[in-house]
Amino acid sequence: MQKILYAFLLLFISGNTYAAINIFACEPEWVALAQELAADKADIYSATTALQDAHLIQARPSLIAKARHAQLLVCTGAELEVGWLPLILRESGNPDIVPGRPGNFEAARSVTMLEVPTRLDRGEGDVHAEGNPHIQTSATNFLPIAQALSARLAELDPVNAAFYRSRLQDFTQRWQAAIARWEKQAAPLKGQPIVMQHKAFPYLSAWLGLKEVATLEPKPGMEPSVAHLSKVLEQLQRQPAKMVVRAAYQNPKPSEWIAERAHISAVVLPFSVGGTDGAKDLFGLFDDTIARLLAGLNH
């Protein structure tokens, strides 16, 4: 009985022994970015993995428990997490991380949003009022986000402000060099027509100059039907594309169906850190994304 009591006490204490800043990251790309910027000064929890659809996450008890301890929430925002995060925030009883507080960081607020709908209607499918939330598919978006996140870290943990600044500087240098490298590697992709399974890559396409000619989902978030796929196939016979692209968490069937019939390659992109074996960190995410796109092109 006494042992159980001690175990319980230990559980209680363990919740409060964090020296490092406690970060609750909604998506793995923000875990990776926070790791780059805060290194060992942060204790980072990832709410989701790259193999999960961040729109549709269960408001699991474990997430509520983690959010209770968090000092900083790092999420995409732009309604990506609207189906589960508000409930987590309410149930966690942690007023430090609610929207509007310094402890609530939305990455989408630092970048220029694409595909902001002019017409808000559920008849248009799963559209987001603030624009397409899949901002992590362009490497260039990480520069302003890193800057904003670093500033936020310094605001919450002023003692280590100089450390965060130097980490940011270091990251920015390495990232800019990497962007130059990626853009050079990706030069053959410019202007290449591609098909997407879900409208998840507008930032990637805008960055690398890919030409999106068709989408397999009839409306965002709706499962591709055979009727719609046939229509896309017909379009591809008139206006061929080089490849069909999907995120790692998505069902491979629609992509494979089209790829087989249109004789193009089906390309799986990691979409976030951990989506593929190659996407081990932020740099790996784009190394692998570009390598996979180039492989798709030379198929």
Binding site: S62, A65, R68, G77, W84, P86, G93, R109
Partner: protein
């Protein structure tokens, strides 16, 4: 005129030069040198100015870029919140078609003194539900859910204020809300996995317990999820009886524990206690030992104590619920009631002690076998228990029914989007002795407007 003079100079200048002395030449050279150095200085100055101008124009450019970025920031809508200054409004539209063999008004055997929400036959507009919610101020959030009954009329299903501004994992709720005990009780009808509630909820909680009162929950600061909660309320919801009295009419205590196992499994388990006082709770059409046709009306006053256990476990390959997933859930409730029973309030009016322990449980599994398609199986069972009837009523009231009501239900539903759902449900209902009911239901549930996050 100028042309001519220039020509003149050009013609004669060479000769003049020849005529010039060395001294003159030196003077001219000096002048030229001076001119040269003058120009060089000027050119340097000009170059400097040019550089400055270039630099400032670059600066201007970068400030312009910055300004543009700031404008973009400013023009971007505020962080996502429940409808900014306008409250989030949602409307649930639902309807069923029910095909039943037995009259739905007959309660489960042994539960004639319990609630019987029953079913609707034929085409039936289900309860439409209008929900409004928004943050009131930085500390409070308000939620109201109005149930629009098909016969007309509006009833307040939920109307509460919630505050998590207390911090430290505390969550305060007051007003009218669904009690936090068990697993299913807090869930609104539009997220139920079957057309109807399990028998245990139907008979022991009249489908769902709503209370007017105060709820305080505390999330224990542990790595795993441990939530402790307590409620005091008016006691208006069954099994309570509405009253006009100071103090609390009902109390609830609950604890929930939950965690993940890897990324594919997550679970939550709970225990709950509910207590209320029933005052002159009248039940009609209760069968008696004398076999009175149509039964009699009884009245009960006394204590009602219920204990419950609940468990839910969810699984999805890779934790990705979009493709396939499985949910297993089960709950068990055991209620002890003791007090005074008045037999046949219309005629005999015999009052004596009465105590009974009744229980019910269900177990259900929901399997999403492909995106948008789910199927589910549920088994539920009730135990009417054996009542200890006071001597005066021993010959009037049935103490033991010797029957275990049960039901098996199968459903398939299709949700084209997360806002629409169509469902087919069949059930074999053996909750009433020798009145086996084969039931068929068709249902639609559609939601418009703001669509809040769903609980686990």
């Amino acid at each position: 005129m100028f042309k001519y003079s220039a020509l003149f100079v050009a013609l004669f200048a060479p000769f003049a030069a020849h005529a010039a002395t060395d001294e003159d030449l030196r003077a001219i050279r000096a002048q030229i040198e001076q001119l040269k150095s003058n120009y060089e200085q000027r050119i340097q100055l000009l170059e400097q100015r040019l550089q400055q101008a270039e630099a400032s124009s670059k600066n201007a450019e970068s400030t312009a870029v910055q300004a543009r970025a700031e404008v973009q920031q400013a023009s971007r809508p505020a962080p996502s919140s429940e409808g900014a200054f306008n409250p989030g409004i949602s409307l649930i539209l639902g309807g069923t078609y029910g095909q039943l063999r037995q009259a739905p008004a007959i309660p489960a055997t042994g539960f004639a003194m319990s609630a019987n929400p029953g079913h609707q036959q034929g085409f039936n507009l289900g309860e439409s539900e209008l929900g409004i919610s928004a943050n009131i101020d930085p500390s409070y959030r308000g939620v109201a859910t109005m149930a629009l009954s098909p016969a007309g009329g509006v009833s307040v299903e939920n109307a509460f204020v919630q505050s998590s501004a207390l911090g430290h994992g505390l969550n305060l709720k007051f007003g009218r809300f669904f009690s936090g005990f068990g697993y299913l009780n807090e869930q609104h009808a539009h997220v139920w996995d079957f057309v109807d509630q399990p028998l245990a909820y139907a008979s022991l909680w009249n489908n769902q317990l709503g209370e007017d009162g105060v709820q305080l929950k505390w999330l224990v600061p542990t790595e795993i999820f441990i939530e402790l909660g307590g409620e005091v309320g008016r006691g208006r919801g069954f099994p309570g009886t509405d009253r006009q009295k100071n103090g609390a009419g009902s109390g609830v205590l609950f604890a929930h524990v939950g965690n993940d196992i890897g990324i594919e499994h997550s679970w939550r388990a709970g225990v709950s206690l509910h207590q209320t006082k029933r005052v002159d709770a009248v039940s009609d059409a209760v069968p008696d030992l004398l076999g009175t046709v149509g039964g009699v009306s009884n009245s009960f006053s006394g204590d009602s104590r219920t204990a419950g256990l609940d468990l839910v476990w969810k699984y999805a390959p890779n934790g990705n619920f979009t493709e396939t997933n499985f949910k297993l859930q089960g709950e068990y409730f055991r209620r002890k009631e003791s007090g005074l029973l008045t037999y046949d309030t219309a005629a005999a009016k015999v009052t004596d002690s009465y105590a009974v322990t009744q229980s019910g449980w269900y177990l259900q599994g929901i399997y999403q076998f492909m995106p948008h398609w789910r199927t589910g199986l549920r088994y539920d069972q009730l135990d009417p228990g054996s009542a200890q009837v006071g001597a005066l009523n021993a010959a009037n009231v049935i103490g033991s029914y010797g029957y275990t009501p049960s039901r098996s239900t199968l459903m398939v539903d299709y949700s084209p989007t997360e806002f629409s759902r169509l469902r087919l449900q069949v059930a074999q209902d053996k909750s009433r002795q020798s009145l086996t009911d084969n039931q068929l239901f068709l249902q639609y549930i559609m939601s418009l407007g703001a669509h809040g996050a769903h609980s686990f």
